[in-house]
């Protein structure tokens, strides 16, 4: 298989399989999670200001008091890499073209030099976050195989994409194919690992906020 056949495979059969497993997994897990249900809370709700599902969705995006100073790398690194990832994934013109061809929606992209800069910052932030996870005994202790693995499958698309655009390490065709392949691995892994938070984060926050709000606790 030469690199053009490799590229055509990842754009064709590979993508077909990856998107298939991704959709299957997402549907399955969403229905399963929201189908779990909870026992009805029979106690009278206590009304406290700021204690609600909606409040929690926003509040948990902000560091609790003092935490920014305690673990700045976790918070700042986390912000930078999440926002950077969103910009690179959703505002790079070829990505928009892909989304448009898949679901029909499109929006204006950003200049590729700007995307390039954001990609570098995002890659740096991810490396810093990883080093922090290795260096801090508590974080390291709490980390399981899944944490290292999901970091890797998130990092690889970023790295290969950036290398492809910059024409580094390997010929563009091969690197582009590797980039698409790494995204396909991410798509397959996403529904079945903690990366599924991309779909559940706001739902679970709302749920926690609502349950605690019912009890009169703002979290």
């Amino acid at each position: 298989m030469n690199e053009m056949q490799f590229l055509t495979w990842v754009r064709g059969t590979g993508l077909n399989i990856a998107v298939g497993i991704f959709l299957l997994g997402v549907l399955w897990r969403l229905i399963e999670i929201y189908g779990l249900g909870r026992k009805k809370d029979l106690s009278a709700p206590r009304s406290v200001a700021g204690a609600s599902g909606l409040n929690t969705i926003f509040r948990r995006s902000l560091p609790p008091e003092g935490m920014l100073k305690t673990s700045p790398v976790t918070y700042i690194g986390g912000y930078v890499f999440h926002i950077g990832l969103a910009i690179v994934v959703f505002l790079f013109a070829p990505h928009i073209k892909l989304i448009q061809s898949l679901v029909g929606l499109s929006w204006p992209g950003l200049p590729s030099q700007f995307i390039d800069l954001v990609a570098v910052i995002t890659i740096a932030a991810m490396v810093v976050v990883l080093v922090d996870r290795i260096n801090r005994p508590v974080k390291r202790y709490l980390s399981t195989f899944e944490d290292w693995f999901t970091w890797l499958v998130t990092f690889l698309p970023l790295l290969t994409g950036w290398l492809a655009v910059r024409h580094m390490l390997l010929p563009y065709t091969t690197m582009l194919a590797l980039h698409i392949l790494s995204v396909e691995i991410l798509l397959i892994v996403l529904p079945f690992t903690k990366l599924f938070h991309a779909f559940t984060v706001f739902g679970s926050r709302w749920f926690n906020g609502a349950v605690n709000g019912h009890k009169g606790v703002a979290v």
Partner: protein, 363 residues
């Protein structure tokens, strides 16, 4: 410097100075030192005077003659065409006056007289299906002919995408079992000059290099001269700034197309195509596909015919996603089934729940 070639050129209205400039351009395009331009001019000018010009045998296999058209098309007497005055083209079916037995005789004479020294040019792919019966010349399959003629060749030039990579005959489902020259011949230096057709100056550049230095130029991993196939179309494209700014033509006649914006979204394969079109251009530097408003087809890359469609952007799926709706349905079914299983488990746990009393704890 004088020589029969200079005289021939002068008769056709090409000055000595133009010829030198052409050689210097060739040398610089091939990233050779400045002195190479002079060496090339000397070698080519002197060549016809020598008792023997380098013999070149050109074998046509499964091809469309487009490569020959590309090289020889003379709107005015081109310098590319005149390079042929520096070689002895002993066998070329399209160009030679001889036919039938005479042509075969010329081929065998050239092979015998120049054993181990002649340059073999092949255009077209080699069909292996039905014992090569899909393409025969003088009762011999292309495979037989290639093996026979390659044996005494100093080097082989695989001219065009068919000879270099199998090209269009090899396109899915490849009914003739077409393969490239390098799939058949393993023991000779092979230079691939892919393109459908290749750029004339690339061909003459390689010929000039062979005439001057007696060797082939530096090649990349796919056997292509690095000087011409070192960079992608996209990297050297004059529309590249629009790609970087995110300005794309959406159709062939919208405002973006009229303003000359990037053709990526219209399926341009420039980013994955290594060739010199963007710098050398076509028809004597007049224009080239992207300049004329059409995206690059990627014709100098292996299997360009099966690379997911000419009008699909590289970032788009090569084929329609067939599994998506089935996957959504299967996912929904799996989710509902698992939900029912979970509920059943919960109900069973609830039903099996035994109330613990204080008395139980004191037991």
């Amino acid at each position: 410097m004088q020589g029969p070639l200079i005289d021939t050129l002068a008769r056709q209205g090409v000055t000595r100075r133009t010829f030198f400039k052409y050689c210097a351009t060739l040398a610089s395009m091939m990233a050779l030192p400045p002195s190479a331009g002079r060496a090339m001019a000397e070698a080519m000018a002197a060549a016809p005077a020598a008792t023997k010009r380098p013999s070149v045998i050109w074998l046509p296999f499964q091809e469309c003659t487009g490569c020959t058209e590309s090289i020889t098309r003379s709107h005015s007497p081109t310098l590319e065409g005149l390079i042929f005055d520096a070689i002895s083209l002993d066998y070329q079916e399209t160009l030679m006056a001889a036919a039938g037995h005479q042509a075969e005789e010329a081929l065998h004479k050239a092979m015998k007289d120049n054993e181990g020294k002649y340059l073999l040019i092949v255009d077209g792919s080699v069909p292996l299906g039905l014992d090569g019966a899909y393409s025969c010349i003088a009762g011999k399959s292309n495979l037989e002919t290639l093996k026979e003629v390659a044996k005494g060749a100093a080097a082989i030039v695989a001219m065009g995408s068919c000879a270099a990579f199998g090209g269009i005959p090899k396109a899915n489902p490849n009914p003739t079992g077409a393969v490239s020259v390098s799939d058949v011949i393993k023991d000779k230096p092979i230079i691939n000059i892919p393109g459908c057709p290749p750029i004339p100056v690339v061909m003459t550049g390689v010929l000039a290099h062979f005439l001057t230095f007696g060797s082939l130029p530096e090649l990349d991993g796919k056997g292509r001269p690095k000087a011409f196939y070192g960079e992608t179309i996209h990297d050297r494209c004059y529309r590249r700034p629009f790609y970087d700014q995110g300005k794309f033509a959406k159709t062939f006649d919208d405002e973006g197309a009229r303003k000359g914006w990037c053709l990526f979204e219209l399926g341009c394969k420039g980013p994955v195509t290594y060739n010199a079109c963007a710098t050398v251009k076509w028809n004597g530097g007049t224009s080239w596909p992207v300049e004329s408003g059409h995206g690059c087809l990627g014709c100098s890359e292996p299997d360009f015919w099966d690379a997911g469609g000419f009008y699909k952007a590289l970032s788009m799926p090569a084929n329609p996603l067939k599994m998506a709706s089935a996957a959504v349905a299967a996912g929904a079914v799996a989710g509902v089934a698992v939900s029912f299983a979970n509920r059943a488990k919960k109900s069973a746990a609830k039903a099996g729940h035994e109330t613990t009393t204080l008395a139980d704890l004191e037991k």
